[in-house]
Amino acid sequence: MAKIHVTTTVNGDAVEFLCDPEQTLLDVLRDELELTGSKEGCASGDCGACSVMLDGRLVCACLVLGAEAEGRGVETIEGMATGDELHPLQRKFLEHAALQCGVCTPGFLIAAKALLEKNPDPSETEVRYWLAGNLCRCTGYDKIVRAVLDAATEMRGS
């Protein structure tokens, strides 16, 4: 089985890789590009731990083939901070103690960032429904939701 050669952009950098046709984007990110920030919790799109942005759209990387990244733009957790500066969501998650074990955190941050880009002033209910595809077993979601709402307030400049 010949490997597929893919040219793509990851976190703004031009990237090339080889992958098997069956490899998912998540497999490629973790095993070929060694970007292990996106996690595999289920490989079936039910937990959101592998959330990434694909051409500006929030998706589960486990449900995208590596080959599909050709010519497209991928954003992962590794690209969320800008140099030394954490994104407000990253800061707020830390301030609010919105993580305990931290394995779901990259997925939540990517998903929350996508929410605030689309809706800068979400209600608590809107936050909860948007993030329903991200499972957390440690926090019970309370502090995560508070952190997202607080980050939204800061980003609106209120």
Partner: protein, 768 residues
């Protein structure tokens, strides 16, 4: 937001106001976790690494007649194949692992089946190959000759005389005379005080009920994962996601016949455990494959493997009978608990029995428990193992008694609540405890006074967990610039690094930012028992404090030497050595940083190293309050509002204490409403994934309000009690009690899923 209740009991050892303990700084590992830099079990990449995969039994119960691995071994890219032939059989030996016991003879069989496959998913062989694809192909080439046997899943069915027997050498312990026929009942335990028959005779009202619960999984988001590497001289390195790297080391050494010192286990960051990662599954297999293939081997479970083959907690059948006077005083209480242990004995029956009536001051109690095997994965600890099940049943019956006697459920509990000096139903006398405080806090809460709407109900329940201490080591090494490196041995599941640093900073009198922690591997620190039993903050506090006191003592000695005065003429205050007594004021105080800088010249590196067996863990009591609404036409339940009040002794980092309360409550909500293992008549698990194993999602739950009660634990320098486990104990009963108020129906089966609720509603309305 949480409110913190201060009581009159001061924390010992803190004459000054606390500077660090009780604050909410950013955790030291936080930035790595929000940037994706933190490395979890599956994130390690070693060059030349092979991929390991496990072949698992498709049968719930089968004799293994033969295994032929030759075709798999011949497949190009396959570097090693292991079966039970690669593991020596071990004699029966029980050792503690977390809050439960494990048996090595059972463990060697659980990690790799020998005579029989005892559950669907039981490992039968494992391969290591150069790619995942080749490994998967290799598994298909392994030929196993199974003789399927009749299976049994449910606990009550497994206890029947005609049930298929899993182990023909299992004879019920704790029964007189000892049985001559093997069965699935591994043991019977009994706890009793007083005279329950006399007690029931005094009661004006007796309520008895039987409850059924299903097995539920810890549900950690990170599947089991490890990387093993064994060199040609038999020295091994193991990287794994675990709650206890020292236990992993002991178990692997035993299973692979190695010296303990030959294995160096590093705990990766851990993506959730809740008790489920206190045992080994992949680690011995990865090590065996690494040893055989002479390459590092990475093994990661898929999500369905996690459900099929790692231990959930027991499903159970529980009978409870409680009698009370018309004024609400309990006169007698009994329970019979039948817990499923899975394929091998050793479920949490003992703690389940001991915890059942622990919140109450009772003179007459009798609890009988049965540890029952069945063809399911061996159970592993799940947050307060055994207690959520027994206390669910008890708290439901308590509620029923209160209702029938027309006594407010909080008042009923207050009337019977355990307090300081109460002899616990399971034996010891309680020191200062916070149950009554939590009941009062709930009663006074705004939540409790808010009126309800139609189809809504409100329920409360209390809960308890013992908490443990255990062997703990900690090292504090002072760096030349006055910063400090703290080495702890308990993997950080929920922010315990932050708590350890807060306690170290407090004890030493230096800034929190000057303390940097690591979680040490097994070669770099003394033996430390696992993260579990709500012991991390408690035990590390003791160890860190002792190590800090050693550092302070040495610092004072160095100052004394510098000032040429006796060592006992130096005191330590606010992070500085000061001359005291007759020499007071003669010299300028020396700061921690100054003393650190001159350490080399005054005698050498300064450090404190504590090795202890933490004693005096204080139990944590909690009371939960929940409002819910029932859709009468579909049976769907919506949780509207939730409040947790729980005694933390002293909240070292309040945000992480709140997090434990909230996380445990939401796990309990899932357990109450939707989570269960669903088996088909073929004994196979039908829902081994997050789609149909229904854990709460963000839109399923409201904010979880928290009230931190602080009744200091006098045996701890800061008054700390463990808090991690108690939060999962009350939710199921609180929700069942709220359901009763909303519908008039007492549900006795968990989960209270919509089809069951609708069926009961229709039966009650006569429309059935």
């Amino acid at each position: 937001m949480a409110t913190v209740l201060k009581t009159d009991t001061p924390a010992p050892q803190s004459p000054h106001a606390l500077k660090w303990v009780g604050t909410r700084p950013i955790r030291p590992d936080g930035v790595d976790k929000v940037t994706g830099r933190a490395k979890f079990g599956a994130d390690l990449i070693l060059s030349g690494m092979l991929v390991g995969k496990v072949l698992r039994s498709p049968h719930p119960h089968a004799r293994i007649r033969s295994i032929d691995t030759s075709k798999a071994e011949a497949l190009p890219g396959v570097k090693a194949v292991v079966t039970h032939d690669d593991f020596h059989d071990l004699p029966s030996e029980f050792v503690p692992a977390g809050e439960m016991l494990v048996n090595y003879r059972d463990m060697v069989r659980n990690v790799m089946a020998r005579e029989k496959a005892l559950y669907e998913g039981h490992p039968v062989a494992a391969v290591a190959a150069t790619s995942a694809q080749i490994a998967r192909q290799a598994l298909k080439l392994i030929e196993v000759d199974y003789e399927p046997l009749p299976h049994v899943i449910d606990v009550v069915e497994a206890m029947r005389d005609d049930a298929p027997v899993l182990h023909d050498d299992l004879f019920t312990a704790g029964v007189e005379p000892p049985p001559t026929k093997p069965s699935n009942v591994a043991k019977r335990v009994e706890f009793a005080i007083g005279d329950t028959e006399a007690g029931f005779a005094e009661a004006d009202l007796v309520v008895e009920r039987t409850f059924d619960t299903k097995p539920v999984h810890q549900g950690y988001i990170e599947p089991h994962a490890c990387v093993a590497s064994v060199s040609e001289d038999g020295q091994a390195e193991l990287w794994c996601s675990t709650q206890g790297q020292f236990l992993v080391r002991s178990h692997c050494a035993k299973l692979l016949g190695m010296d303990i010192s030959a294995i160096r286990v590093t705990a990766s960051e851990i993506g959730g455990g809740f008790g489920g990662k206190t045992v080994v599954y992949l680690e011995p297999l990865a090590m065996a494959l690494a040893r055989k293939s002479h390459h590092p081997v990475k093994m990661v479970m898929s999500r369905d493997e996690v459900f099929q083959a790692s231990g959930p907690t027991s499903g159970a059948n529980v009978w409870v009978k409680i009698g009370a006077t018309r004024h609400g005083r309990i006169t007698a209480a009994e329970a019979v608990l039948k817990y499923q242990a899975g394929a091998f004995q050793g479920g949490p029956i003992q703690p389940g029995c001991m915890a059942a009536f622990a919140p109450y001051d009772l003179a007459n109690v009798k609890v009988v428990g049965f540890d029952v095997v069945s063809n399911r994965p061996k159970v592993a600890a799940y947050r307060a193992p055994g207690a959520p099940i027994s206390e669910f049943a008890v708290e439901c019956v308590i509620d029923e008694l209160a209702k029938e006697l027309e006594i407010d459920p909080i008042e009923f509990r207050l009337e019977n609540a355990a307090k300081e000096g109460t002899r616990a139903a399971y034996g010891p006398k309680f020191g200062p405890i916070g149950l009554i405080d939590t009941l009062r806090k709930i009663k006074e809460s705004e939540h409790y006074r808010t009126p309800l709407g139609p189809n809504q109900g409100r329920g409360i329940a209390s809960g308890f967990w013992f908490n443990i201490g255990g062997e703990t080591s900690a090292s504090i090494n002072v760096n030349e610039d006055g910063t400090v490196t703290l080495m702890a041995g308990t993997p950080d599941i929920g922010g315990s690094r932050a708590s350890s640093c807060l306690m170290a900073a407090e004890a030493l009198g230096i800034d929190y930012d000057k303390v940097r922690p690591i979680i040490a591997d097994t070669s770099s620190l003394g033996y430390t028992f696992l993260t579990g039993g709500s012991r991390a903050t408690f035990s590390n506090g003791l160890a860190v404090n002792e190590a800090a006191q050693q550092v302070i003592k040495e610092m004072c000695a160095r100052a004394a030497r510098f000032w040429e005065i006796p060592a006992d003429a130096v005191t330590w205050e606010d992070g500085m050595a000061k001359p005291a007594g007759a020499n007071a004021g003669d010299f300028e105080p020396l700061s921690f940083a100054e003393l650190a800088k001159m350490a080399g010249k005054t005698g050498g590196p300064i450090g404190g190293h504590a090795h202890l067996n933490a004693q005096g863990a204080g139990p944590s009591f909690g009371t939960h309050l929940v409002d819910l609404e029932v859709d009468q036409e579909t049976g769907r339940v919506t949780i509207l509002r939730y409040t947790v009040a729980q005694d933390a002794g002293k909240a070292v980092h309040p945000a992480y204490v709140e997090g434990q309360y909230q996380g445990g409550a939401v796990q309990g909500i899932g357990w109450a409403l939707n989570e269960e293992y669903i088996y088909g008549p073929d004994g196979r698990l039908q829902n081994p994934g997050f789609l149909d194993y229904r854990m709460p999602v963000a839109s399923d739950v409201p904010m979880i309000d928290t009230v931190i009660v602080e009744v200091a634990n006098p045996r701890h320098p800061f008054g700390v009690r463990g808090v991690g486990e108690t939060p999962i104990v009350p939710p199921m009963a609180a929700i069942a009690n709220a359901m009763e108020q909303a519908t008039g129906i007492r549900f006795t089966e968990l989960p209270m899923s919509p089809p069951k609720v609708l069926k009961a509603l229709e039966a009650a309305n006569g429309a059935g």
